[in-house]
Symmetry: C2
Subunit: 356 residues, 2 copies
Amino acid sequence: MDQRREPTMRDVAALARVSTKTVSRVINGLPGAGPEVVERVREAARTLGYRPNLTASSLRRSDRRSATLGVLLEDLSNPFDAALLRAVEDRARQNDVLVLAGSSEDDAVLQRELLTSLAIRRVDGMVVMAVGGHQDALQQERERGTPMVLVDRPPTFGGTDSVTTTNRDSSREAVLHLAGLGHRHIAFLGDRQTVWTSQERYTGYLEGLARTGLTLREDLVRTDLRGPDAAASATAALFDLDEPPTALFTAQNLVTVGAMRALRDLDLHHRVALIGFDDFPLADMLEPGVTVLRQDVPALGRKAAELIFNRITGDQSPPTHAVVPATLVQRGSGEIPPPPDQHSPRPDPRRTPARS
Amino acid sequence: MDQRREPTMRDVAALARVSTKTVSRVINGLPGAGPEVVERVREAARTLGYRPNLTASSLRRSDRRSATLGVLLEDLSNPFDAALLRAVEDRARQNDVLVLAGSSEDDAVLQRELLTSLAIRRVDGMVVMAVGGHQDALQQERERGTPMVLVDRPPTFGGTDSVTTTNRDSSREAVLHLAGLGHRHIAFLGDRQTVWTSQERYTGYLEGLARTGLTLREDLVRTDLRGPDAAASATAALFDLDEPPTALFTAQNLVTVGAMRALRDLDLHHRVALIGFDDFPLADMLEPGVTVLRQDVPALGRKAAELIFNRITGDQSPPTHAVVPATLVQRGSGEIPPPPDQHSPRPDPRRTPARS
DNA sequence: TCCTCCTACGTCAACGTTGACGTAACCAGT
DNA sequence: ACTGGTTACGTCAACGTTGACGTAGGAGGA
């Protein structure tokens, strides 16, 4: 366990009585070394336990590749991010590339720091989940020529590939699904409005309402919910309204969890419909099972990795904005019908005076 | 977005009309540069958008640090592994260190490959969740002098730090908890027996039985369950026995999920007790809530990171085997009592002939 | 005044590797 | 025997940076 110096090509060369260049040729499997010499070098490398130094090699080589990919997500411990990282890793491994991972925590300063951390290590490219708000740091990095692919959220600047899911269309689909069951009071619960996905999902919600002729009730829209607790209290507050919602559309997985918890506490989980964006483990084991819009996370990751590797290998074609479809997974919570009409179609109180 | 060459110290030096060495001094904040020159160099670096090349720097520097840590887990998309990675990452960031992450998939060959992938990149150290079986590759790497800390599972060789949880003690506690409620037929469901944690948890199970005077029924022990599906069918099979268990101890999170699913399918989830090792998201939202032994994953990660950084900075003290306690989280499933005795104390069929 | 010490630089080589290029030996063809 | 080509090596310098060491100029003391 002592701190021996790692053997170098020079050591191998000395032992095999050849030049370092010849060792280089043998190690890299290049032609120009006779079979006998190849064997001598291999033997020497084995006895010394030689392993090449990739950093020295990439410094010298003309292609400058470090065989390392930067992956900047929001929070590596979030199941969505973890699955994404894993998908990228798997694809990277096929190219003998390793991933340098970081969590930006949706913090622009932290993202900028991580970006330079990756840059000074000369990664071959970056897969980035952009933080909300300005993308100046990303754009600057991109303009320096760093290959980059944005995942989950598209760039606000040009010339850069991205992979996203069908946020708007799928959200609209969810609202239509609920409306189709007769729901007329569908609440929207979303996370930080600075995040593009949130906005898209909200737009999809609006489109869904518009498509079915429902009017937007702004008191049923709650955004900027950071984490499950905020989502839970926002949900609870909805049921203090005179006319509470009969269905919820939750636009992010942590928000879904918080809303579920609140519904359960109010013992409404079998009476109020719920559709969430993003699948999560055990969603099918809850009672009722949680109907969700499931993103194909492995596909997102694979596609992102594919795009970045194409760029790294010199692809100069115009930027791609890949869209991976999400699917509605019906498990029960989204199929709860509205309660038999007490309010709606609601008698106009001016014409038919309400009793009691 | 063109592929400009990154500016180097030489470029900065030329623009600031100083030597590269002076640029080096300014960039690294070393003394030996006058205030006026410092300003000139800073200005030049800014206008050129210079960023140091960490690989070149670490190649040349005497300490040889790459400011990069290797983290080899089993599956980055598993919530446990993801949380662990995140904890290590957070701690690493405090030292301006980035993590190179990989999934070994409990495959010795893959682990060996990843190990050399990290080694040729000259990471400063490695945090490894060892695959089951032989640890030759790890030991060899360790013997070369690479700083290493094992997480979740200890080394089978000497001289290496590790961080684990109280697998055996907590498993015993779970069995005692169940036995305390009157359970006498407690099944054990575990994953791959090559994995150390599985063995430890099984040993804890045995100790729990022994402590309470229960006899081991081998037909209630099912191991080598890979994934939720295998666990589910093994669980179902238990209830085909003449004398099925009244309680289950599931020794891994995916096994717990599979067992839950099977119990639910058999509509036994409110009648058969269940305690699982490893907490998982939403365990409290199920019905009943799932009683688990919760590992303190952030603490595991923090401790592992702490140990590895100590070693990297030259700590030569004898190896540490840190143990982070797990806690029993009671949520309902582990508190289900056994059914009012129909079988047990069971009449001996030879003396009291069974009817029908 | 001279010597010493310090500061603020510069020069040079080296980290481990590989691209560019050189060269000796050998072979085929004439 | 000579040319031209190929094979199997070697030599050299460079990738971007920094450690070791040199040196010019000024400050300070005897």
